[in-house]
Symmetry: C2
C-alpha cells in the first residue's frame, strides 16, 4: 500500500481593527501553542499563512511565535504562504491594489524569512476566473480552493492538484478536502487514519487548508486540541505511522501531472449560501436536499459580490473604498496606499457565521483608514457631484479639511455619510435591522452532530422577539417623516406606525446655489385615504465650523394638513458620546452639536441588531436614532420653515 | 395605458473563413432585404451590429446594403453597435487583444459612419464579471445580455436596464427577453402585440437583441419573413399602433433608473448546456424539468471555457492562439495583430447547434491566420521546449521558415501539429469522433413545436449507425500501435480491435541530442493475458527540406512477441490532395511526401463525423487516417529499426 501523502496548510487571520485583547488571546490559546506543538516534530512538514494584521502584531508583541516561525522556516519544515497583506477579497478590489497588497506580503516574507512565497492563501477562497493573471504577475504559482469549486466544473477527483490559466498565465489549484475540514481537529484520530488510507488507496493526496483558529480559538477547541491532547495525538500519528507530510511546494516539485480546469466563481459552500436573501437561502437549502448527488454540481448559490446587493451598508463601504482607491491611484503615496489597503480587509464587507459586517468596530476601522488615506491626498474643498455608487443617479459630496458630507438625493435626499476627518470617524455608519435566515429558529447544520461551528445548532436568545423589528429604509440621516399626530416613540422604534409621507426613501431633485446644495421633492401626504401634494426643500450650506440646514415645507394643496414632522438622524455613537438637551443634541462628547429651531421634541433610542457569530448570537448596538419632531398643521398653500445647525463645539 | 417601448437590436455575423457564397447568399436573402424593409420606415428606430467579416465584405461587395446603413445611421434611425472586430469571445482572449479588437471596430465605425459606438454586441453573450473594466476603458457604456444572466443573480424584473461595475468602472446591462427571442419573427403579430401590452402594463420595456439571420437565412425564414410578409406586418404594427421604438442610446439618454447587479459568468441557456459532456447534458436537462420555477435560478450548466476541456482540438487551437498572441505582444506589428485577431473569431472554438468547431474550413482559416501572424514575427529557427497547453508537461516545438512541428511527449510522443508555413496550413488539424448528446435520438426542444432552430426536432440520417464510432485517443500523428496480427483495416477503422500496447496516448520521455529530439517509452505489450516489457524510441531530426524519423523497437523481455506495428498519421487533406503509392504517401498534391522503410502495408480511410447544424445533421470528412504497418515478430531482447522521411517534393 502506498504511503499516504498529506499536505497540511493552516490559515490564521484577525481583522484589521479587531480588539487588541482578541489578538492577544488568539496567540495565547491558539497560534503559539500550535507553533510550539509543530516545532516539537521537525519531521512534519506543513504550510502556514498569517494575514498582515497578525504579522504586524506578532513582530511587535509575540516574539516567541515569531522566532518559532523563523526557526521552522529556516529548517525547511514550514512553507509560508503569501496573500493580499491586509487580507482583502481580491476580486472586489482594483487590480492595482491587488498587486500592491500581494507585493507588500511577498516583500514582507522575503525580508523577514528570506523567501518570496510561491503559494497564496486566497482570502475566503473567493475565486473568479480572471485572477490567475494577477497572481502569476505577482510570482504566485499556486493557491488552495475548496473542493466545491471543482465539483461545479464537474470534477470528481479532488485528491490531486489541477492547473488553470487566464490569458495563458498559469495557476496551480489544490482542492481542499471538505471531509478533512470536518475531520481535523474535530474527530478521533482513527477516523483521520481511515480517511488517509482511503485517499492513498485511490492514489490520491490528502489536501487540507483551513482556518488555524480551529486549533484553539473556536469555542471549545482549546480544551479539545491541547488539554485533551488531540493535536499531540495527531502529530504522533503523522510522524509514527508513515504519513508523508510535504509542503505544497515540495509536492509540486515532485512534478505531479496537472489536469487543466476552468472553474466558475465560487467560494466554500457555506459562503455561497450566506450571500443569499433569507427566502432564497431556504429555497436553496431545500433544493440541495432534494437533488441527487450526481446533479449537485449544477446547483449554485450566490456569488460573493452579491453581498453588496444584500447589504446596502456593505455596498456603501465598497463604493466609498473604490472612490478612495481611484484617488490614491491619481495621487500615488505609499502612506495613503497602506491606509487604503487596511480599509480593504475583507471582514466588514460581508456576513456569514462570523460577525463581519455586523461588528461596528470593524466597519469603524475601515472608514477610519479610508479617511486617513484621504487625508494624505490633496484636498479639493467644496461640493462635487458624482455617481459614486453607480445607480445612474448623482450624489453630492462636500469635502472640507474638518468634515465630509455625502448626500444621496435619490434616496430621501439623505445624508449618507458624515465624517469627522480629524477623528477619522464616519458618524453615519449605522447598520439597519433586516431579516436574516437564522432569525427563524431552524437547524442549518448537516445534521451530523459534529463540533465544527458550521454544524452547531444555536438557540435564539429570549430577547429575540423584541429585537426582530426590520427597517423599511436605510438608517441614513436627514430622513423626512410625516407621521400621524398620535404616533408614539415606541411605535416609531418598533416600526409599527403608518408613514403618511412619501419622502424618507424617495427621490429628491437637487440644484447647487453658490456654496449651498438644495434638495427638494414634490411629494404627497396621505390622510383618511386622501392624498395631498406637499413639498419639502432642504438647503445645506456648509461654512467654517458649521453646516446650516434650512428646511421649507409647503402645503401645495388647499386642504389643511395636521401631522408630526420628524427629521431622522442615525449616528454611530458610543453610549457616553451623546446627550440630548432640550432642542439640542451633543455629539462625540461635545465635539459636534445639532441645534434645532422651532422647539422640537426629540425622541431617541438605540438601534440594536441580532446577528450570529462563532459563539452564538450577538445583540449589537449599531447606533443611535434621533428623531427631532414638530407637531403642527399647515393650511392650504401655507409654508413652514425650520433650521438645523450642525456645528463644532468645544464644551464637553 | 402607457405606450409600449421597444428596443430592437439585430446582430449579424458570418465567421472568418466562411465560404464566399454564404456571405453572398446571406446578403441576398437576409441582410439586404432586412435593411430595405427598415429603410422604408424611417420612424422606426433600431440598433444594429455587423461583425467585422461582414463589414469588410459589405464595404467591398455589397454597396447597396452599405449605403442603406449609412443613410439610416445619418438620419438617426439606426444606432450601430461595437464589438470585437472579428467577433472573438472576449473572455478567452488576452486583454491587449480585447482592447485591440474593440478599438478596431470603434475606429472603423467612426471613420465610416461618423460615430464611435456607445454599445457593444457581446459575442455569444459570454459574460464574465471582470469585463466591465475593459469595456469602459474602450468607451463602451452598455451591452446586451440574456435574461438568464439576470435570473442567476435572483433578478426577476428583466424589463429594464441594470448597471454593474468592475473596480468602479460601470457598464449598463440590458436583459434580452427570451420570450421575444422566440416570438420574433416566428409567431403571429397578434402574439407580439399581446406581449408588448403585457410588458408596458408592468411598466417595463420590451428588449430584444438577437441574430439577424433569423430574418431570412435560417431554414424557412426567408419565405416566412419576406414572401409571406411577416416583417412588413411587424413594421406596420410598430409604426401604426403606437409602439415607441428607440435606439438603446436614446433610451439611456432618457435617464432610466439603474439597479446595481453583479452577474456570474453565463451565456444564453442553450450555450451553457452545449458545453456539458453528454451524460451531464442529460442529467442537467432532467434536473431542469424537475425543479420548481422559483428554484431555477440556482441551476447552472457549464461555463464557456469548459469547451476547452470537452474538445481537446478547441483547447489546442486556444493555447496555440495564446502562444501567437504572446509573441505578437513581444514583437508588436499591426499586420501580425490583424491576422491574430482573425484567428480569434469565435466560431471554430466551440460547438452547439451551429457547426462551429466541427467545420474544417473554419478551423483551417484560424490556423492559417495564426501561421500568417507568425510569419510576420522574427523567426527563431530550431527546437524549443515549452508547456504551451499548461498540463505540467513540456512539449517540443520545432520552427523553421518552411514548416513547424509540435510534439507532445506526454500524449503518445505524438505529432500534434505539422504546419506548412508557405501554404499557411496546419495539416494535423483533425477532429476526433466523440459522443455528442444529439447522437442519441431524443427531442431536446422545449416541446412547443415552434420554428426557432432551438426548437426543431431533427432526425438522425440513416448512415448514423455506421458513423457513430468513437475514438479513444486524439487523432494526432506518430501514434504507435501494437495490434494483433489478425487485425483488419475495417476493425481498425471502426475502433473494434484490442490495442496490445500502451503507447498511443501514454507518456513518453524525451531528450534533445543536437538537432534531434528523441522520444522514448518503456511500455508494455499484452498477449494472452501476459504482459511483456517493450520499448519504443523515435528520433525526430529536421533538416533542410525534410524530417528524418528513426524508430527503434526493443523487446525488453525474453519472450518472442508477434504483432502488427502501426504508426498512425491523421492529416487534414482534401480528397484530391493525397495519394498512397506502395511505401509512400504523397501529400498536398506532391508538395510533401512520407516515405517508409521496411515495406509496410498502408491502410487508409477517411475520418468522418456526424454533427448538428442549423439545417439538420452534417456528415463531415475531418481528415485522412493513414496506418503504415509492419507485421513481424521480435525475439527476446531483439531490436527492430524503421525510418520515416517526411520530405518536400516537387512532383505533382
Amino acid at each position: 500500500m502506498t504511503e499516504p501523502i498529506f499536505l497540511f496548510a493552516v490559515h490564521n487571520h484577525q481583522p484589521v481593527g479587531n480588539f487588541p485583547w482578541v489578538f492577544k488571546q488568539a496567540f495565547r490559546d491558539c497560534y503559539e501553542p500550535f507553533l510550539i506543538a509543530l516545532a516539537e516534530h521537525p519531521a512534519i512538514r506543513f504550510t502556514l499563512h498569517f494575514s498582515g494584521p497578525l504579522w504586524e502584531y506578532m513582530e511587535a508583541k509575540e516574539r516567541r511565535s515569531w522566532d518559532l516561525v523563523e526557526e521552522m522556516a529556516d529548517r525547511g519544515q514550514l512553507e509560508l504562504l503569501g496573500g493580499g497583506f491586509y487580507e482583502p477579497v481580491l476580486s472586489i478590489i482594483p487590480e492595482e491594489d491587488r498587486s500592491g497588497q500581494l507585493r507588500l506580503m511577498s516583500d514582507f516574507l522575503a525580508e523577514n524569512f528570506g523567501r518570496r512565497p510561491r503559494g497564496l492563501w486566497l482570502t475566503e477562497r473567493v475565486w473568479e476566473p480572471h485572477l490567475p493573471k494577477t497572481l502569476a504577475g505577482a510570482g504566485i504559482e499556486y493557491t488552495l480552493l475548496d473542493e466545491e469549486h471543482f465539483h461545479y466544473a464537474g470534477i470528481r477527483d479532488i485528491e490531486r492538484p489541477y492547473i488553470t490559466e487566464e490569458e495563458g498565465s498559469p495557476l496551480i489549484l489544490f482542492p481542499v478536502s471538505k471531509a478533512l475540514r470536518y475531520l481535523i481537529p474535530f474527530r478521533a484520530i482513527e477516523d483521520v487514519r481511515a480517511h488517509f488510507r482511503e485517499v492513498a488507496g485511490r492514489g490520491g493526496v490528502a489536501i487540507l487548508g483551513d482556518d488555524g483558529e480551529k486549533f484553539g480559538l473556536w469555542p471549545g477547541t482549546h480544551k479539545w486540541v491541547y488539554e485533551e491532547g488531540w493535536l499531540s495525538g495527531f502529530l504522533a500519528f503523522l510522524e509514527n505511522e508513515g504519513v508523508r507530510t510535504m509542503t505544497y511546494s515540495e509536492y509540486l516539485d515532485s512534478r505531479p501531472s496537472l489536469g487543466l480546469v476552468y472553474l466558475p466563481p465560487a467560494s466554500y459552500e457555506e459562503m455561497m449560501e450566506w450571500v443569499l436573501e433569507p427566502a432564497d437561502f431556504d429555497r436553496f437549502r431545500a433544493l440541495k436536499r432534494e437533488v441527487s448527488p450526481e446533479a449537485q454540481r449544477f446547483l449554485r448559490g450566490g456569488f460573493f459580490r452579491e453581498f453588496f446587493l444584500k447589504y446596502p451598508e456593505s455596498n456603501h463601504l465598497h463604493k466609498r473604498m473604490l472612490l478612495v482607491s481611484r484617488e490614491v491611484r491619481e495621487n500615488p503615496s505609499p502612506e495613503a496606499a497602506r491606509k487604503l489597503y487596511k480599509a480593504q480587509c475583507n471582514d466588514p464587507y460581508w456576513h456569514g457565521v462570523f460577525g463581519g459586517l455586523y461588528l461596528p468596530h470593524l466597519r469603524e476601522s475601515a472608514y477610519q483608514h479610508l479617511i486617513e488615506a484621504e487625508k494624505r491626498l490633496p484636498l479639493n474643498s467644496g461640493w462635487e457631484t458624482l455617481d459614486y455608487d453607480l445607480d445612474g443617479r448623482e450624489e453630492l459630496f462636500f469635502r472640507h479639511d474638518r468634515f465630509n458630507l455625502l448626500l444621496k438625493p435619490s434616496s430621501g435626499g439623505s445624508l449618507v455619510e458624515f465624517d469627522d476627518r480629524l477623528l477619522g470617524r464616519n458618524l453615519s455608519d449605522v447598520l439597519a435591522r433586516r431579516p436574516e435566515s437564522y432569525h427563524r429558529q431552524v437547524d442549518h447544520g448537516p445534521g451530523e452532530g459534529g463540533k465544527s461551528i458550521h454544524e452547531q445548532a444555536k438557540k435564539l436568545p429570549p430577547e429575540a422577539a423584541s429585537l426582530l423589528r426590520y427597517d423599511w429604509h436605510p438608517r441614513y440621516s436627514l430622513l423626512d417623516h410625516f407621521l400621524h399626530p398620535q404616533t408614539t416613540l415606541d411605535k416609531f422604534r418598533t416600526v409599527d406606525y403608518g408613514e403618511q409621507g412619501d419622502f424618507a426613501n424617495q427621490e429628491y431633485k437637487f440644484t447647487q446655489e453658490g456654496n449651498s446644495a438644495v434638495l427638494f421633492r414634490h411629494g404627497h401626504f396621505w390622510a383618511g385615504g386622501e392624498r395631498s401634494p406637499i413639498r419639502v426643500a432642504k438647503r445645506i450650506e456648509p461654512t467654517e465650523g458649521h453646516v446650516l440646514i434650512t428646511y421649507e415645507l409647503e402645503n401645495e394643496g388647499d386642504k389643511e394638513l395636521a401631522f408630526l414632522f420628524g427629521i431622522e438622524w442615525n449616528l454611530y455613537l458610543l453610549p457616553q458620546e451623546w446627550e440630548v438637551r432640550k432642542e439640542k443634541i451633543s455629539l462625540l462628547g461635545g465635539k459636534w452639536h445639532l441645534d434645532f429651531s422651532g422647539g422640537p421634541a426629540i425622541w431617541h433610542f438605540p438601534l440594536q441588531t441580532l446577528s450570529q457569530s462563532e459563539e452564538g448570537y450577538d445583540i449589537i448596538q449599531q447606533g443611535m436614532c434621533f428623531l427631532p419632531h414638530w407637531k403642527f398643521s399647515l393650511a392650504g398653500r401655507q409654508k413652514f420653515g425650520l433650521t438645523i445647525t450642525l456645528r463644532e463645539g468645544h464644551e464637553s
